[in-house]
């Protein structure tokens, strides 16, 4: 089938920052993203888990499929939000169906 080159950006970020991140993405012209829940993890700031927590604890994973030429704008926007925060950003080459959607 016909596929089109795209980038898959995965941003793992603290839950209280989710709204700020998605707003920044939309302001940077990102037209779509998907948010996945995260159960727990480990990094330089130690290990954590969501079990039994109340409050807006933990992290979420935001996934963005985007045309290659718009990647830089997305990364600039995302970086300004995550800069001082814990979390990770990765970018993978991918192919998408239905390019008109991106």
């Amino acid at each position: 089938m016909l596929t089109h080159s795209a980038k898959r950006v995965e941003i793992i970020i603290e839950a209280p920052m989710e709204g700020r991140l998605t707003d920044a993405l939309q302001a940077a012209g990102v037209t779509g993203f998907t948010v996945l829940p995260v159960l727990g993890g480990s990094g330089r700031s130690g290990q954590w888990s969501r079990e039994g927590q109340v409050g807006r604890a933990g992290m979420v994973a935001v996934i963005c499929l985007i045309r290659p030429e718009r990647l830089d704008a997305l990364l600039e926007a995302a970086f300004r939000v995550v800069e001082r925060h814990i979390g990770v950003v990765s970018i993978t080459d991918t192919q998408v169906l239905r390019a008109e959607r991106f």
Partner: protein, 324 residues
């Protein structure tokens, strides 16, 4: 003193406190016992709704009078000022950085609604009345401490993010909205409303509190285990000294405001308790460089159990001795 100890003993041997101890022990022993996040959140919504509603019903008909307003002003003042005391103690007793000390101070100036809920259930079981509006005071004490803490950081020149959006998030955070909202619902519907939902907000209350405290014990125990002595003696000492300082300040304000013995015990409990819901989220946004596990472990792993076991009975006894 003998009285306080016997009261403490009595308080320790309730299903609620023992459920907390069970959770703590299970987590420290590395049992995989755990409560689903969704269930823990739902129980906390229930407790907020029930405690707010009951407070509202208690004031129904009285209207908003000056007494409520002075009590709220007293609570707000406590919440603004306690972070300074906490910050001073932390900088003296511990090696925490300015940012970490300020973040912890914000937690201790604010309040823990579950500690408050436990205190109301201790009062209820001893037949001691208290002002229904203390629920509103609790809600009013959640946020001011955050301002003081951020001011302490900004003064030191470090970066703070404090925009309108964060203000909005803090002032309309879930627990404030639910507490005030259900307080108003209780005040508006009064005894007729209570008659309809009493089986849920009153009868089931202590049982659900047990399961919630079991979860709090599990979370606290996991936090303590993850920190494995990383807290340091000074930090741990702060976790038991600060609630006593807070309670003393709470007592002073309660006497100034003229609260009943029950209300005095609740004001002391609020001042002695440390937030672990609203403030942590705000600190992640405003002070991302602060280490979140220090505040949470201290508030939930040291101060919460201290208040649950020794603090609350002592505050009740003192409030009765002085106020009675």
């Amino acid at each position: 003193m003998g009285d306080i100890l016997s009261l403490a003993g009595q308080n320790l041997l309730t299903p609620m406190i023992l459920s907390f101890v069970l959770g703590l022990a299970a987590a420290l022993a590395r049992s995989e016992l755990s409560v689903p996040e969704a269930a823990a959140k739902m129980m906390s919504l229930y407790l907020l709704f029930a405690i707010g509603f009951k407070g509202g019903v208690a004031v129904a008909g009285h209207g908003v009078d000056a007494h409520l307003l002075t009590a709220m002003a007293g609570g707000v003042a406590l919440s603004f000022l306690l972070p300074f005391a906490a910050f001073g103690l932390l900088r003296g007793m511990t090696g925490l950085s300015v940012v970490d000390a300020a973040a912890v101070a914000a937690h201790y100036g604010s309040i823990s609604i579950v500690t408050f809920v436990t205190a109301t259930s201790v009062l209820a079981s001893q037949g001691i009345a208290s002002e229904g509006f203390m629920v509103a005071v609790a809600a009013a004490m959640e946020a001011p401490a955050i301002v003081s803490a951020l001011w302490l950081v900004a003064r030191s020149g470090a970066g703070v993010r404090m925009d309108a959006r964060l203000w909005h998030e803090i002032l309309l955070n879930g627990s404030i909205v639910l507490l005030i909202g259900s307080f108003v619902i209780g005040a508006v519907t009064g005894d007729a409303g209570m008659a309809r939902i009493e089986p849920m907000v009153v009868t089931a209350f202590q049982g659900i509190l047990c399961l919630f405290l079991l979860d709090m014990g599990l979370v606290a125990g996991r936090g303590l285990r993850a920190s494995r002595g990383g807290l340091g003696v000074g930090v741990v000492a702060f976790g038991v000294v600060m609630p006593v300082v807070g309670a003393a300040a709470g007592l002073a304000v309660a006497l100034l405001v003229g609260l009943s013995p029950g209300g005095t015990a609740l004001m002391m409990t609020l001042a002695a308790s440390a937030s672990y819901i609203a403030v942590p989220a705000a600190m992640r946004v405003a002070l991302p460089e602060a280490n979140p596990s220090v505040s949470l472990t201290l508030a939930l792993g040291i101060t919460f159990p201290f208040n649950l076991t020794f603090g609350i009975p002592a505050y009740v006894a003192v409030a009765q001795a002085i106020g009675g």
